[in-house]
Symmetry: C2
Subunit: 482 residues, 2 copies
Amino acid sequence: MSDEKKLTTRAQDFSAWYNEVVLRAELADYSPVRGCMVIRPDGYGIWERMQRALDDMFKATGHRNAYFPLFIPQSFLNREAEHVEGFAPETAVVTHGGGKELEEPLVVRPTSETIIYAMFAKWVHSYRDLPLLINQWANVVRWEMRTRLFLRTLEFLWQEGHTAHATHDEAEEEARRMLGVYRTFMEDWMAMPVVTGRKTDAERFAGALRTYSCEAMMQDNKALQAGTSHNLGQNFARVFELTFQTESGGTDFAWNTSWGVSTRLVGGLVMTHGDDKGLRVPPRLAPTEAVVVPIWRSDEERARVLAAADALRTALAARVRVHIDARDTLKPGAKYYEWELRGVPVRVELGPRDLDRGQAVLVRRDTGAKQPVSLDTVTMELEHLLATVQNDMLRAARERREQHSRRGNITYAQFRELMDGEGAFVYAGWCGDGACEAAIKDETKATIRVLPDEEFRSAEAPATCLKCGRPSTSEALWAKAY
Amino acid sequence: MSDEKKLTTRAQDFSAWYNEVVLRAELADYSPVRGCMVIRPDGYGIWERMQRALDDMFKATGHRNAYFPLFIPQSFLNREAEHVEGFAPETAVVTHGGGKELEEPLVVRPTSETIIYAMFAKWVHSYRDLPLLINQWANVVRWEMRTRLFLRTLEFLWQEGHTAHATHDEAEEEARRMLGVYRTFMEDWMAMPVVTGRKTDAERFAGALRTYSCEAMMQDNKALQAGTSHNLGQNFARVFELTFQTESGGTDFAWNTSWGVSTRLVGGLVMTHGDDKGLRVPPRLAPTEAVVVPIWRSDEERARVLAAADALRTALAARVRVHIDARDTLKPGAKYYEWELRGVPVRVELGPRDLDRGQAVLVRRDTGAKQPVSLDTVTMELEHLLATVQNDMLRAARERREQHSRRGNITYAQFRELMDGEGAFVYAGWCGDGACEAAIKDETKATIRVLPDEEFRSAEAPATCLKCGRPSTSEALWAKAY
């Protein structure tokens, strides 16, 4: 299992710390294929819980799952000009099948707009067929040169929602609705607060009219683009002839949206909540919410404690995802170390003295706080504690973000210093000129993460552009990003 | 939605009937990529329910999910001699990535033994790490020349279990256990009876020691290989150096198993249960178990019936997956037709006269039987009826199979006639010689589906080989197959 060598600390080297946590908590491993990862059971278990929660929310908003081919004809990708420019350079291409060279190469999907809207065009005839609300859980491939476990891999798992609507406004409403679903999921399930808003044209999805994003702050004060939602306008409908008969008898192109989140979220969870002891998983996403660790010193104690611990596990299992660590080969301290590394939200200690007192001790992974509770009420207390941990983790992450967010007057020199140093979310004015945006990116590597939604904007709108000093037309959130 | 043209009947052309049902019930559609299919929401909904049921059973038997890369280095596939011979001719090969030719081509996984056991070799050190019980839900690609929706497609979705054990016997037990899990699923969920047994060497999985299979009879009396489970012996462990320290301090190669079922099962469901009106879905796998169809003739009736139907839907929804078809654009008869085509197990009719009597009418999709039930007890009655339908569908399928199974003395001439004609499951003797097996396949296209497990064997063991007349060493189940 885990070796006993101490983790690199976050302060020493955040990037090394991240890799060590992912590997030693056995979330993922490197694979023999460059840039591809293996998602191990403990990592996949978190992803499965993410999938279940998101899938329930998608279905509750009227979406149905379907599955489209992995392979896309090269010619399909080429049809939408911006789209091919954005994705063609990073595709994997199948040139041979069944021992023969193919007449037309097939692209391994980097995203599925083209193949999906080609199918929608077959299915949609009338306004009565709209809206068409589809989601797909799938693997996609983007030929990235620099990869990081979960954050950027050649192949990753994701969901991509694809919808068709009769009007611009309905599509816009859908794109915003799904952004809201993502935000709710990230905050309520991942305990990861996000800033929502619109991307600038430079950061827009290739082929979209407008792109919206959820941006989270990691513990190195860099932003993680955690989920995006696009109003695609009629761009794809035009090239794939996705038309419909309108209620008044005319013909129009449909309006599309697409939206996605990926296994990158597992990386976001690690970088939001992990500490120098390892992973911390928010209870709602934890495959194991609590681990019972029986404590004994003699064989006699062992028999007594194990019997009680097993009864306790059975009682808890009715309401909580619980594991018992009854291994003979490790001392309690070594078990604590391991379960802390793996991020299980609550440890339940049970020793002979606890039994004498009719209690168990609940230990929070997030704060380390210990709390003895009566065995009569332990299930209820544990459930209550798990809810508290979930809330506290969100609150702590939000406080940390606010501590590292900067609003109000800031000179460009100060901004550069901040970006060269500890980093931050900086809310500042922007003249709306892509040249200023590009220059800042060049000079500081910071980008406009979003033009934030109303509730995230500063009480007093910034007056001037961070870069050129001309009047600001939009408040922008600047940060370095993954 | 569906057009009103009548389906080809099964008797006219079973193959055409199958394609029409799949397309018109909107389970799947052809895609622009040769041999790849699109699984539409109604088909994917069945697959999702299959996944959920199987996944629960895998977890209950101690397995955990993980995810391994889509791409496998060509050299990995080449390491196990039989395996590469079996799979290399049907691979899709990625030769270019990120605009450049790759140094080593990557194969799109046709199955994942090689990449998974290479990873197991990194993770397993000691007998304490065994058994390692992993499952993966994934897409795989096999470059088939002749494809059929669900039954044989270039890309398909499946699960592949992969395990490692300390001894041959544990691996054997695991391979048999998972075959049993498959059988339980196919019978209890799909209402599709299967014959289990061992494959002959000629039909063994490429690289396995022994292959076990579940074979189901379709309505054209052909066999569908519905799921297989392999004892891989130490073949893959040897080539990927998957070794472990034994309890006694020595070193040994691990013993592996793998087992899989795929979206082919959806095709099996159609061909087991469909009739000339369309699909029939067993209730436990039906995304919609019951559809409420309100019946009205006047606007006044409409208001009254719709209010009652909606209340009924709400009441039923607490216990049953239910849909209400309140469309104004279709008459009840057209709705019946459509829901029969789509295979919803029970229709709930509710008209003004039913309301006067305080009743609804339950109509079974499998038999067409109608049954008025009191609105006071309708939920309980419907639940009960769904359980009855589930059981009756299994019983009907089993009876049909037995009617078309042939045991006891049969001459080879009679066998050929049967295989050229209506087909059957024929239990007959086999001398154990691959030459007889090959000759029969050549002459009749029938193969040994399995050497059946004890409970499926004839009361009196066949004495002589179906082909050569020499003494039989094993009873064999012969049939033509998909």
